[in-house]
Symmetry: D2
């Protein structure tokens, strides 16, 4: 099949650009086109349960609304993420923010009470508000529960906050479960631990697996969209081992594969473990998720509109 060259016209939509990339069909442009088509396909398909796995600073990095909207619109059925992304969602839900364009070095930032994630900055005053507000919520939760699994804990938090822009709030409203197997390793986890120094509240580390396996067994097909690596990527794939693996997967990453870390592992590898079915559709896009994911989602949304 011949490669056609990408054409650019005035005021083209994101989907028009991605379809031009599909005519070329090679290198990153080809991968992005295949990923967009697959995203549209699995999102439209009523038989497919869509997992979204999110590692890296995607909430502080500007993707909070996109993730929230995917949940609100019923495009994502299960969210798996890090404790850090959930902490940053709550930080904003409690009135805090993330900041940019500070030029100070890390030692100066520390003295100013600012934390840095690449070119994203946080303020300790926002974390102070976070701490006081999350403690009120933890008290409410502990009043009614002795032991919770992590998903239940997050749903309860979602029910006790009132920010329509929040991922945790929206997920609770829509009944979309959030799994965060590494939750404890975050500011939210730290607050929980400090709370449990004087209060009784146990998070059951293995508790979510029962529920998650029910979701997997109850799904005709599963597709997983993976931003970054880490625990969320592994959990999203490994939880599907029970039924022979996912039917489709898309990953966006800058990690590389040679050193064997899961973050950069090719999706094909998941087939050997029965974490992806042999017939599964798998697309990897190499790139920065804050560019690739908005572009892909925007194109897929337009494609879905056209397909309706």
């Amino acid at each position: 099949m011949k490669i056609e060259h990408i054409k650019i016209g005035p005021g083209m939509t994101t989907l028009q650009l991605i379809e031009e990339m599909g005519k070329s069909g090679v290198l990153g442009a080809g991968r992005l086109h295949r990923a967009t088509k697959l995203l549209s396909e699995v999102t439209c398909d009523p038989e497919t349960t869509v997992f979204l796995s999110v590692a890296g600073p995607m909430v502080p990095g500007g993707l909070r609304k996109i993730i929230r909207d995917l949940i609100a619109n019923g495009h994502v059925d299960v969210l798996i993420t890090s404790g850090a992304n959930l902490t940053h969602d709550l930080l904003e839900a409690f009135g805090g923010a993330h900041y940019r364009e500070h030029k100070e070095d890390d030692e100066e930032l520390c003295q100013m009470g600012m934390g840095r994630i690449a070119d994203i900055y946080t303020k300790s005053e926002d974390f102070e508000v976070f701490e006081s507000k999350i403690n009120i919520i933890l008290s409410k939760i502990a009043k009614e529960n002795d032991k919770l699994n992590i998903r239940e804990f997050l749903t309860q938090i979602g029910n006790l906050i009132h920010d329509p822009d929040s991922i945790i709030y929206t997920a609770a409203q829509k009944g979309v479960p959030i799994y965060a197997p590494g939750l404890i390793d975050s500011m939210l986890g730290l607050q929980l631990w400090m709370f449990t120094q004087e209060n009784q509240l146990t998070l059951d580390a293995a508790g979510d697996m029962h529920e998650l396996s029910d979701i997997v067994y109850g799904s005709q097909k599963v597709a997983t969209v993976i931003l970054g690596g880490g625990l969320p990527k592994h959990y999203a794939l490994a939880s599907n081992i029970l039924t022979g693996g996912v039917d489709a997967a898309i990953q966006v990453t800058l990690d590389r594969s040679e050193a064997g870390s899961l973050g950069g592992a090719p999706l094909e590898e998941a087939k050997s473990w029965a974490k992806a079915k042999c017939s599964s559709k798998l697309v990897t896009v190499i790139g920065d998720a804050t560019i690739i994911f908005p572009l892909m989602v925007s194109g897929a949304m337009e494609l879905m509109d056209k397909t309706d």
Copy 2:
């Protein structure tokens, strides 16, 4: 300054998406937005000479038309590229093509007469046509010249082919010079060498510098857009050392900086060498150029339309 979250709407244009990325302003999304604005700015500015430096398989990889159009529309004033990209431009000008979706392994491909560049494939029959046609052109050039610099050689080729989609043809038509300091290291270079076994035609390696220095001295400002690293990146920056460096630069690359290779070097490093002015505007976007460059150009074109 607060980070705002990226919003996605139905049928949004590429510029609308990039402007949303600018509201976030961090990580890759922020870089892409700054690069797009800068590209629009330098392209619009009549005082700025725009260099485009292209390494990696951008012509076989689907960007031939974008590069050709930038030249045709007067948005690029100087092109610096590899012998390989010029060879592949001629391959298509002579009726050949690039192909995709071959699954054979490299030993099988070799037996089938197909060359591979990642997931791009070439056919030996197309190269045979290339060889016979370029030899006719070389004969014509050698009839009138003993010694040429590389830029003159490429202009003469451009004047002897008739493909409006060709970069070399269009550059010749528009009087846009093409520099290819490593030309000899390509199939075009190999053909030239074989031709010179029995014919007289010398390419003067240092010959372009005189002309290129005139362009640099004759420019009020220079901006350079850099896709990939290699010789083209170095040449684009180093030729501006004569006047204290470029005024603006954008680079798109997946190379990394730690091992010191120029390909992944931060643009800021160019300031120490007076290859970029101290006051220069510099933006690096980490990513696959076949995704980033079409998106950036599309956004910049729309932005220029709006600015007019």
Copy 3:
């Protein structure tokens, strides 16, 4: 200071090579030399508690013995790792192995019952032995415990196996705590969950923090050696926030920093969060940990012998 060129002689020791790299002092060679010196320094210093954080397939990838020996020899005081590395340690403790040089593709491997991690292979028969043996151990543990934190759980496993080459066994013998905040997301975690379907045994996700904070508060100085990113890297740094951050850190990674993921984040960033002290000594080596870590440890061991 002038860069001296690296000299290579016949039969030189790893330390002699690293010291030559130190005379150059730049790029990767310089980083490796600084990391080796720092590793030797913190390991020798009786006042420094050494954390080792291990992500990626380091146990299946040939580093099991090095990690085990560092623990056995008192060079590592705290180990933080993934559930996967612990699973693979037990797989070998139970008589299984890891394999290499299989050329089949992932679908064939799946049919053969082999899982793949880059060029490392596992056999399902080894996992079957793992499952039956770990279940016996889980039963023994559940007989005496209702609720455990993860560290206690791993110590109890260590006390119930008898493989002197095992990391878990050796750590239990030497009283070195192992933390694995993401334990549940592994084959070991999966077995634990299946066990808890019919048995009572709760792993308390937040339970380790109390003990870990005691270690941090009880240490005059903390140094952390970080192989790969993920949860182990974050946990190793974040647990030291309580005392203003680590005093020294070495990381070996191939991840890159631009997309903001913690795996590739520069160690300097940790200063802004008070996860590394402002005065701390921080060295990053970009590379494959299966090359860099054995070389660095070998050099540091020789340096310690010389220093004694």
Copy 4:
């Protein structure tokens, strides 16, 4: 085949460490072991012509002596490199040096007359000496020659300098040809061009191909060792297309393959182009060449001694 774990002992030699890595045989450790064995094999084999291709700042970065010694000891038969590495070799031959541990930012460095390559620094005063000395040499060469190919030009320079530590000097002494197809794009190239403003001296860009093809046709077997990508990598492989490709190749790189650039391209791809024979032995090591290459050469030298 089972993976054995790497063992580290006191005062082990670099070869002993690499042989331990070979017992593991996977990930980077396995690659490094295979590369070291192959390097020893091709270097020992009297029938194999060894090309060394060097891109990136290897001469300023501390590898000058290793490259010089490989040439002096007859282990390298052909050197292909960038104009920059040759410039930096001459800079030192003329009494200059490379420096480290400057903390200033790039704008300050520019004002101080210092150029930066990652954490390597140069001084303008050294470049001034370079300019005056190279001009004397150019005058001498121009007195006797009108037109030279690049290899001859470099040999003549080598014959006119007297630094036994110099790569160019040593290569001239030993009759080892140096090819630098992109020579003109360097400070040496710039000086040559400025010289030719007022003097007659033409570098024939295609001139080297005749001689290089004689070497390739005259070799029973060719092996190429590739540090970094760029023009040197392409030239080393492409010049062997005339005889169906190299018989063995080793590459050390941090570039990645997905975007299609040659720098990160897998060596296997060269088979499709007949730049590597179907039966060829190919090993890629992912890593920083300033760590990997000294380690590999040191191990290979010891292995050769043992084999003798």
